[in-house]
């Protein structure tokens, strides 16, 4: 009895110091024949962290999520979720998780509330727990007045929120979100972010993939930038921006014909000049003074904009490509 108490005390003490990793991936690889979708990536996620995988479509994010979710087997490497290998302990690992897949797979033939209850049954949860829990989650997802509607009557944003509510039915400590807001309008995205932020505050570990830099900046404590199955960089959004970009960016448009050739004339302005098909980006700690230098050279852009650096710039710097093609 006494030992038990001491042990739990020391566990919580060590939690304060250095939260234990709930997910550990080591040299994780997945190939489909010739194609290597995930090419030896390693990372650790401590409990309660909000961890993101940022990268363009086809970078290997979803494949990584499927391996963590125990629904796709790795080709090589090590993977552990709550100390369990999803390959040998699939049901045990999945019992710990809430999963929001990229594509909604709600049961359209069942009512909204019934979708939650049926899903809870897969975890062997009794109806005495599921009935009040379903109502609580509908409230959380702002779908209370839709409880008796059919799923096909919901908007895209509502379906997404219902999928998130469904993933929470077993009170998971780890939530996997694959592109949670892709295809939603800005208002629906903000509602969703707000809900996810509340979960984070409750101590739920969030693992999310996204190709939206603003989403990554809003939600992630730490992220890995993934491209072609490999990790390009790792860190908090702020530290990645600090490391791979300048504080500000000056965006200039000279018209599609001049953009390509203007780079030479801009040499020396700011720290770095990046020429894109539709605009020229000048990386500088002070965007306004960079703009003054451009004016001093008698270059007349059609439009100019000074903004803070974002993860988009980090990605561009790391891969030479934009996140969203």
């Amino acid at each position: 009895m006494h030992n038990e108490a001491t042990r739990s005390f020391s566990t919580s003490a060590s939690f304060q110091m250095n939260p234990p990793a709930v997910i550990t991936a080591e040299n994780l690889t997945k190939s489909y024949g010739e194609l290597v979708a995930v090419d030896g990536i390693s990372f650790e996620v401590p409990a309660g962290e909000s961890f993101g995988l940022l990268g363009p479509n086809g970078a290997g994010k979803s494949t990584t999520m499927k391996m963590i979710g125990g629904v796709s087997q790795r080709t090589s490497g090590k993977l552990s979720i709550m100390g369990l290998d999803p390959e040998t302990h699939g049901p045990e690992v999945r019992a710990h998780l809430g999963v929001v897949p990229q594509q909604d797979n709600l049961d359209e033939e069942l009512k909204v509330r019934e979708n939650l209850i049926v899903y809870g049954r897969y975890f062997g949860l009794p109806l005495s727990y599921l009935r009040p829990k379903a109502d609580e989650l509908l409230e959380f997802a702002q779908l209370t007045d839709k409880a008796k509607s059919r799923v096909d009557a919901l908007s895209g944003g509502m379906k997404r929120r219902l999928t998130i509510a469904r993933s929470l039915i077993n009170e998971p400590k780890i939530l996997l979100l694959d592109e949670p807001t892709t295809g939603l309008d800005p208002q629906a995205r903000h509602i969703l972010w707000d809900r996810l932020f509340r979960l984070k505050e409750q101590g739920v570990t969030l693992i999310l993939t996204t190709h939206y830099m603003d989403e990554a900046e809003q939600l992630c404590d730490r992220l890995i930038v993934v491209d072609k199955g490999r990790i390009m960089a790792e860190g908090s959004p702020a530290s990645l921006i600090r490391e791979y970009s300048t504080r500000e960016v000056l965006e200039l448009r000279f018209g599609s014909e001049r953009n390509a050739t203007i780079g030479v004339e801009l040499a020396g302005v700011g720290e770095r000049v990046e020429t894109l098909p539709d605009r020229v980006l000048i990386y500088a700690d002070d965007g306004e003074s960079a703009l003054e230098q451009v004016s001093a050279r008698r270059l007349r852009p059609l439009t100019s904009l000074v903004r803070r650096s974002s993860l988009e710039d980090v990605f561009l710097r790391l891969t030479g490509r934009s996140l969203v093609d």
């Binding site: 699939g90 049901p91 797979n105 897969y122 949860l125």
Partner: protein, 273 residues
């Protein structure tokens, strides 16, 4: 404030009861259109029994009663209609819904992310459908009995025979359906070139041995024929070699078991377990 049981409990319950959990989901969906299932299972037999048993039977019985083993035509065809009905329901339940689960609405992938394993998702679908066949067959049998077409006290067993016959046709179909990644009309072909011939050439409306040998083999490999003959043994005591009766049982159970095994394997392969 009550809270969920631990993940370990979820996992152990899912391991033990997962197939039933998924069956429960399928049954809930079926309940959504329970009326049409009920009307189908009552309306179809009544229509068939009237048309065949009252209309056609009056002609047949007047001319060739001896051909049908000394029973009237209605009694002869009732077990066949019972089995055919289950097989036709199976051809629906184990084709398009499988495509739907994997591809169209991807309903199999919801439980796939839960502690359930693909084999349990397959089993749940099978168990729910089997229960539906059984209920439908019992209703069908009750109507047959009301028409006085099941003189034997063991007639009710034919409802179980029909259920197993439905599975012995349906599960190999399900195994095939779970390999299809692109719908290019395969199920319509199955209907036209497998289900319909099985229905016509399985000793349904006339004894199989009145057919020429060239097409009689269709009956021998047909779950409808094996199910029908076995049903006849139970509803009116058809006299046949006990070894043949045993063959019917082995064929039906064997085909269902083989279909189930292949389905499990294909579900596991397709869902990456």
């Amino acid at each position: 404030m009550i809270s969920a049981h631990s993940p370990a409990v979820s996992a152990s319950r899912a391991k033990r009861w997962g197939s039933f959990f998924y069956a429960e989901q399928v049954l809930r969906v079926m309940r959504g259109y329970g009326w049409s299932v009920f009307l189908y299972s009552v309306g179809q037999p009544v229509a068939y029994l009237f048309a065949m048993g009252i209309g056609l039977a009056s002609l047949v019985d007047a001319n060739s009663a001896a051909v049908f083993g000394g029973v009237n035509y209605l009694t002869f065809i009732a077990p066949a209609l019972l089995v055919s009905s289950a097989v036709m329901t199976a051809s629906g339940d184990f084709s398009y819904p499988i495509m739907d689960g994997f591809k169209w609405r991807r309903v199999f992938y919801g439980p796939h992310a839960s502690p359930l394993v693909p084999q349990q998702i397959a089993a749940g679908h099978i168990m729910a459908s089997a229960l539906k066949f059984l209920v439908q067959s019992l209703v069908y049998f009750a109507i047959v009995a009301m028409f006085g077409a099941s003189p034997s006290p063991w007639g009710w067993v034919s409802a179980i025979v029909a259920t197993v016959a439905g599975l012995s046709f349906g599960l190999p179909l399900m195994a095939y359906a779970s390999t299809i990644t692109k719908d290019s009309g395969q199920f319509a072909l199955v209907q036209r070139f497998i289900v319909v011939p099985l229905f016509l050439f399985s000793g349904t409306f006339f004894p199989l041995d009145s057919l020429p040998l060239a097409v009689r083999w269709i009956g021998w490999i047909s779950p409808v024929w094996h199910g029908t003959q076995l049903g006849r043994v139970f509803t009116y005591g058809l006299e046949e070699n006990p070894l043949l009766t045993l063959t019917h049982v082995l064929f039906l159970v064997g085909a269902a078991a083989a279909g189930w095994t292949l389905t499990r394997r294909q579900f596991a392969r397709r869902m990456g377990a």
